[in-house]
Every structure is written in C-alpha cells, then in structure tokens.
C-alpha cells in the first residue's frame, strides 16, 4: 500500500530533459544556418550511439529498459557532446566520444543520478587529449553540405581550404605568433571575428542564450548557476583586460565565444554532477568560470570549460558539505 502524499505534480525527469532538448533547438538552428548541416549528422550519430549504449548498459545492469530509455537523459548528453565537438569531425570520433560518456562516465559509475563527473565533459576531455588535431578542425562558414558529409564519413581532409580557426584559437595563435607586439585589438580584426564574438558563432551563442532564458523561465534551472558562471567569467576577464587591454580579450569576447554560454545554461546546470545548495551553486559555477578563463588565457587548450567543469565536479561533495543552508528552527536568532 502506498503512503502519503497521494498527489503528485506531473513534472517528470523525461519532461525536464525534453525542455532541455527544446531549449537547445534555437542554438542548433543558428548552427545549421551559419555552418551547414554537418552538425545535424553529428547530433544524429551521437543520439543513436547514446541510445544503443544506454540500452546495452541498462540490460547488462539489469535495469528496466523502457523506463530509463524514455527518460531522454542519454539524448541530452549526446546532443551536448555533438555541440561541443567540431561538426566536421569523422563519424567514429563522435561515436567514440558518446560511448565514453554513456558507458564509462555514466553507467560504470552507477547510471543516472550516480555519475560524479559530467559525462559530456568527460567525453570532450578524452577526445581533446586523444585527438588534439581533429578536435581543432572547425568548419569555415559556408562550407558545402556535400563536403561536410564527406568529411564526417571519413573523406580526405584538405584542411586549410575548409577549416577556420575558432575565435579563441585565432586569438591564442595570434598572441603567440605575434610575440610581444601582438595586440588583441588587431587580432580581432581578423576574419574569424564578428561583431562581438566569433564570426557566425555569435548567432549560435545567441541561440543558446535564448534557450537558456527559456529554461530559466520554465524553472528547469535556477538563476544561481548561469549567473555565477557568466558574472565570474566577465569579472575575471574585466580585471585582466582592464590591467592589460592589449594582451587580454574583452569580457564581451569571452562571454560571446567558445562554450561560455552553452556551459552556463546547459553544461554546468547538470544537476547530477553539480553542486546542489544555493550557495554551493554560486561557488561551483564561479569556480568553473574562473578555471575556464585561466585555461583559456594561460593554458595550452583553446577552451578550458570541460577541464574546469571536471575539476569543479571533484569539489562538489566538499562544497555541498560546507554550504548547507540553515534549517528551519536552527537559524540565527531563532534559538
């Protein structure tokens, strides 16, 4: 016999995941518009791989297949991987990345709700460490659809003709090759840059931001994580840019390029691997943004969000322990 409460609100895990997928659509649409249909193939490959891997793992673990396959959490992971990896990467790369996320990062740690690390970010890190060259090949705007498909299916990669540096990459390369004389202001005049962020990428970022606002509006996510992430990123960038504007990019560029917005609304908001207390969320997101900025500006990788998220994932139990909110009847002034 069941016990009280006998009423339940109708929102389910599946619905939450569905809202997240919906919220990703504007960004994906902008992606296709600016960079062609390659990303759609990647999304499809990742989704199919994720569902297959999820099914096999659930079967092996003796879990109810239908219940957990329908929760859409694997699809969310798959889409986030596809959106983090270059859209013209070979098919096996996205498949491998997705397997990495679903099999290793998710199910080997105990499945839904048990993974200490963000599965999509684990996949990204493994890929960037294992295949740094492939991971740095991003399409130039206006690359033909047939050519994109050919690349994904494993065709010849005449790289210089078809790829372009992402803005953060261009910035890094520019600063390194230019030596002491390089100026951020000059570099950002280059073709990789648009009005405020990367050329073309600005639209994708705008799409993700729109989706993020939708999630906030539907109360799928709270304000703490995205706000702390974006504000910390902006403030850190502002500090260094203010001190040395020639050598450091503006806060606006940092917000509008790379994975900043995607991470703020879709990646660090993964509840399973993130901090859960209100104050803990601020620490978690702020820490991730700070580390990401440091890796971007001083490290060897073009973007550091994946590493930053994993590093902060490790700290979550500690953060949560020290940020427990006061309980009713135990607050100051009530005793």
């Amino acid at each position: 016999m069941s016990h009280s409460p006998y009423l339940r609100e109708s929102r389910t895990v599946q619905q939450i995941m569905l809202h997240v997928l919906l919220a990703l659509l504007p960004g994906i649409a902008a992606y296709v518009w600016q960079f062609g249909p390659g990303i759609l193939i990647q999304l499809l490959l990742a989704s199919v791989t994720a569902l297959a891997a999820e099914a096999v793992m659930l079967k092996l673990r003796g879990k109810p297949l239908g219940l957990y396959l329908r929760d859409l959490s694997a699809i969310v992971t798959a889409w986030l991987i596809a959106l983090s990896l270059p859209p013209i990467g070979p098919w096996w790369m996205i498949v491998l990345a997705t397997l990495c996320a679903i099999v290793v990062a998710k199910h080997l740690y105990g499945g839904l709700g048990q993974n200490p690390f963000n599965p999509a970010m684990v996949a990204f890190c493994v890929m960037i460490v294992a295949f740094p060259a492939l991971m740095s090949q991003w399409p130039a705007a206006g690359l033909d659809p047939p050519q994109q498909i050919d690349l994904i299916l494993g065709g010849e990669r005449p790289l210089d003709a078809i790829t372009a540096a992402t803005p953060l990459d261009a910035l890094r390369t520019g600063l390194r090759t230019g030596g002491e004389d390089a100026r951020v202001a000059e570099i950002t005049q280059g073709p990789a840059f648009g009005l405020i962020g990367g050329s073309g990428w600005e639209w994708v970022v705008a799409g993700f931001a729109a989706g993020g606002l939708y999630l906030l509006w539907r109360r799928i996510i709270g304000w703490q994580l995205p706000a702390a992430f974006l504000v910390t990123m902006a403030l850190t960038a502002l500090l260094l840019w203010g001190m040395h504007p020639a050598r450091f990019a503006s806060p606006l560029l940092h917000l509008a390029s790379g994975g900043t917005v995607l991470a703020a609304f879709f990646i660090i908001t993964d509840p399973v691997s993130g901090s859960t207390t209100p104050r803990g969320k601020l620490v978690f997101a702020g820490g991730a943004a700070f580390i990401a900025y440091m890796i971007r500006s001083f490290g060897n990788y073009p973007d550091g969000i994946a590493f930053a998220v994993l590093l902060m994932n490790i700290c979550v139990p500690l953060i949560d322990m020290y940020t427990q909110p006061p309980v009713f009847g135990h607050k100051r002034g009530s005793s």
């Binding site: 016999m1 069941s2 009280s4 339940r8 929102r11 207390t277 949560d320 009713f328 009530s334 005793s335």
Partner: protein
C-alpha cells in the same frame, strides 16, 4: 490595519479542490446504532474507563478519566448502554486495535445534567482541569490536550494564534465551521486569550476561503484580528503559520510558548466555547467527506461513529478503491472503514485510481534539488534520501532528519517519483529502534555491573564479618581459658537464655510464614520445593550453630 506578513521557504500549491464540499451547509448525521469510542484519543496517557458493560450512560457522561499529567477525558457521545469495553481497530495506518467503549445508542440522545460554567470566577487550574475533563484536545490533527497549552508560561505570552489555514486539498471542515459558527470560534478565542493573558489574537486563514474570512471578520472585534494569508501548502503547519503571521521562527525542540506565542486550531476554539457556555464536552466534530463521492460535504459527527456510516452519507462512487483519513498530502489509507471517527478525524476522503493515481515507477534521484526548493523546513531531502538509503543514520541526523514534518512537499514535486517521505519515516523509525536497543543494552549493562558490584561487596562484607566473629570467639576462649573452671556469672547466664529465647522465636516465626501458591502443585514441582526446603533447613542448622572455634 494591515498586518505585515512573513514567508516560509518552499511549499507547494496543489489544486485545492475544496469547492465540492463547501456548497452544502454542515449536515447532521443519522444516529448510528452503535458508537465505538476509543479511550485513547489524545496525545499522552490512555484514560481509564469509568464504565462497565451493561452501564447506562447519558450523552456527555464521562466514560474515561484523564490519566497522567498529559491526557484528556472521553465522553459518551449519546445516551445508551455500554455493550462492551474491548479492543477495536483504530483509524491508524497500523490497523492495530486499542481499548474502546462500545455504546449501543438508545435514540433518545438524552443529555447528562449540565450547568453553566462560571469560568470568569474560576481559578486558572480549576478552569484547565475543567477543560481536561471536558476532553478538549487540539482538533488540528495532533490532538494534544488543550488545557496544558493554556497554562501560562513563565515568560508572558503576547500573541494567541488561531489556525484556520486549512491548507490540505479537499478538507473544508474548518472552512465551514468558520462560515457557519464564527461567533462561537471568536468566543472561544476570547476565553483562551484571557486564560493566557495575551495582548492580541491573530486568526490566520488562507486566502482561498473568502467566505470564511468574511464571516470571521464580521464576528471579531477588539484585539482579535483576522488575517488572510497566501494559499501555500503547508501554511497550516503550526510553525509555518506562526512564521507567516508573526515572523517568529520557533526553534527546533522549543515550544511556541517559549517565544510568547500560542497556537490553536479554530475548531479547538469552538469546542472551548461549547464546553464553557454549554458544558458540552468534546463529543462531536465537523468532518469533511470528499473525493470520489456523489455528495461531498461536511457533517457534524459524533465521536465513535463508524467511518462506514459517515462515508455512506456522502454516497461513494463504485470505483472507490480506498478511503483516507485526512487529506491527500498527509492523510493515510484506512486499514478498515469499520474504524470509528475520532477527535482527530478532520476528513474522510474516498479515493479512486483516477482521483489519487498510483505513483509512477520510482526512478533514480538526479539530485535536481527540486525537493529542497520546496521543503518548508529548509531541509535537503535528496541528501537525507541518500543517507537513509545507505543506512548512514548518523549523517541523516546531522542533516536534521528529525526536523522533517512529513508534509509531503518533497514527494509531491519529485520528478523521479521517489516516495521521499516514506524513506524518511523508515529512517526515523530505524533510528528510534536503534536508540531503544541501545537504551535497553545500556540498562542491561548497568544492571549487570551493579550485580557484580553487589556480589563483590557481599562477599567482602561476609568475609569481614566472619573474621571479626572468629576474632571475638578467639578472644572469648582465651578469656575463659584464663579464668579456668570459674562458673559463668549469673549475668552471662541470663544473657544466654535471652539469646536462646530470641532464636527460638525467630525460628517459629520463620516456619509460620508459608510461601504462596504452594497448593495443588504437580509432583515434580513439589519435589523441587521439598528439596529446596531440606537444603534451607540444613543451611539454617549450620548458621544457627555457632561456628566451631578454629
């Protein structure tokens, strides 16, 4: 004057579904043929029965007297004959039976003689004893004896709060009471305010009950203020309501009285007025019948009425698959509808698979924290769930498991459909069981150690005594040896005779005291006893004779 309101964290807004049962006035219920009045209807001691099988009782006659410091009397709800004093199934999730007085009603409904209560001239204790003997308990659900809460604390009480929030879906008994009997609620509030010597009275009502608010506003005057509070479950929780109305957060483990506050349900205030003005003990209450019934509504129900009969008055639909006592958030499924209505019964809710759908399959917790967002106690339910699941009871307590009020908000919102409250109930009962076990083990250990100590001490004392005696004898022998041949002095002879006589008396006394229950024993027991007797006789002979000088 506008009352400044405060908020509590979290809460949920389930569909209140109260309209169905408020469109009809409170109705009386046909007199049942039999009333089953449980003796234990309040927190605290079980009243001792004052009637025996065959006794005639009158309406309002006390049939159970308050027992112990925390207890309240119970009364015959109508006139009739006591058919039995026996165990009957209680309206409790356990379905366990408890002692009840079963009354066969005579249909006359004849009152015991009643006199108006001169409460203004009564001393505080007298008045409180009167309320205890009138069986007045909190009608909000906890059934705590009201007279105890009306004892002024050492610090002055400044605010009396009446709880008319009624935040659970479906339940409307307080709503209807306030609409129809506002004057008497206010009258009861006035009496309690005077007993506690408070400065002001606040009556908190959720703003989804405009009719009740209007009726109460029309009835109050002076220092009594009706405050509409936002509709947010569980605003009717005592600590939540006090927080909303006064901003005071009653600390864990403390009572509202420690903060100059006291809180009663509006129904309790009504019963206080009835008890004082009409000498009418708590023998009936308003109960909502709602849910899967054709004619939902509120009934004035005698305590002890079988829930079956009450439910019938609401005409339950054919697909009713269970009956709850209380609301859908905190109520429980009755093990049997034969159980009686008790003082705590505020609602009888008929459920059907469509009205109260079975919970969807439980999924893994994704730590989304929705439960924590809605917890009115500011707990982190998902953390407590993990600790409970992993039997990490110490951690669960550290995260304030026992501040959980089991309101059900967390289970209500959980997207993984985890029955969180069930986990908390389990964890709490596990911890209690362990505490009991530990306490029992502590007592056993203490007793064992005390026994060891005693045995050691006795051994030591005996040895000392023997040594002293032997010493004395040796000295005596040495003395008599020194006075060789000298006859014992007459004084000594007299002393010896006295001792001998005393010993003889003692012996006789011992043999005259006989053990009880020694007749008609089976042969083996008799043999055992004989053997023990023989052994005792032998040992007595040994101790009576003076020890041989060594």
């Amino acid at each position: 004057m506008l009352q400044k309101l405060f908020t509590f964290h979290g809460g949920v807004k389930p569909d209140s579904r109260k309209d169905a049962s408020t469109c009809r006035p409170i109705r009386p219920l046909a007199m049942p043929a039999e009333l089953v009045v449980p003796l234990h209807q309040s927190i605290g001691g079980t009243p001792r029965p004052l009637v025996r099988v065959g006794d005639r009782v009158l309406k309002g006659e006390r049939i159970g007297a308050a027992e112990g410091p925390v207890s309240a009397a119970v009364h015959a709800p109508t006139s009739g004959t006591v058919k039995a004093v026996e165990e009957r199934t209680m309206p409790h999730p356990s379905g366990l039976p408890a002692s009840c007085v079963v009354i066969e009603t005579d249909g006359e409904d004849r009152w015991i003689e009643r006199e108006p209560v001169p409460w203004k001239s009564m001393k505080g204790d007298e008045l409180r004893d009167f309320l205890r003997d009138a069986g007045i308990v909190g009608l909000g659900g906890a059934t705590f004896p009201s007279h105890i809460k009306l004892r002024p604390a050492t610090a002055p009480t400044h605010t009396l709060v009446l709880n008319g929030a009624e935040c659970e879906p479906f339940i409307t008994c307080d709503d209807m009471l306030m609409r129809e009997r506002a004057d008497e609620i206010v009258r009861g509030a006035g009496i309690m305010a005077r007993m506690l010597a408070v400065e002001r009275v606040l009556i908190g009502i959720e703003d989804n009950k405009p009719e009740a608010i209007a009726a109460m506003r029309a009835a109050v005057d002076g220092d009594i203020q009706v405050v509409a509070i936002p509709t947010l479950y569980p605003a009717g929780g005592e600590k939540q309501l006090l927080r909303v109305l006064t901003g005071v957060e009653v600390a864990a483990g403390r009572r509202p009285l420690d903060f100059g506050l006291q809180c009663f349900n509006v129904g309790t205030a009504y019963r206080v007025a009835r008890a004082i003005d009409h000498a009418e003990p708590l023998i009936s209450r308003i109960v909502t019948v709602a849910g899967n019934v054709e004619e939902p509504g509120n009934f004035e129900v005698l305590v002890g009425t079988p829930i079956d009969e009450l439910l019938k008055a609401g005409r339950p639909r054919a697909d009713t698959d269970r009956v709850l006592m209380g609301g859908p958030m905190m109520g429980f499924a009755l093990p049997t509808t034969a159980a009686p209505v008790v003082k705590a019964t505020n609602c009888v809710l008929a459920g059907s698979p469509s009205l109260l759908p079975p919970p969807p399959p439980e999924m893994a917790c994704i730590r989304c924290g929705t439960c924590a967002d809605h917890c009115p106690a500011d707990l982190q339910p998902f953390e407590l769930y993990w600790f409970g699941r992993s039997h990490n009871f110490g951690k669960a307590q550290e995260y304030h498991l026992f501040d959980c009020i089991e309101c059900g908000c967390c289970s209500y919102v959980c997207p993984s459909h985890i029955p969180l409250v069930d986990y908390f109930r389990f964890t709490k009962s596990e911890i209690w069981a362990r505490e009991r076990e530990r306490a029992a083990a502590d007592i056993a250990r203490e007793r064992f150690e005390a026994r060891n100590d005693r045995q050691e001490r006795e051994k030591r004392e005996k040895a000392e005594r023997l040594a002293a005696k032997a010493d004395a004898t040796r000295k005596k022998l040495a003395e008599t040896g020194a006075g060789d041949g000298a006859p014992p002095s007459p004084a000594e002879e007299a002393k010896k005779a006295l001792i001998a006589a005393a010993l003889e008396r003692a012996k006789q006394q011992k043999s005259s005291v006989k053990a009880r229950n020694t007749e008609n024993l089976p042969a083996d027991k008799q043999a055992e006893i004989d053997e023990i007797e023989a052994r005792r006789a032998r040992s007595e002979r040994r101790t009576v004779e003076p020890p041989e000088p060594s």
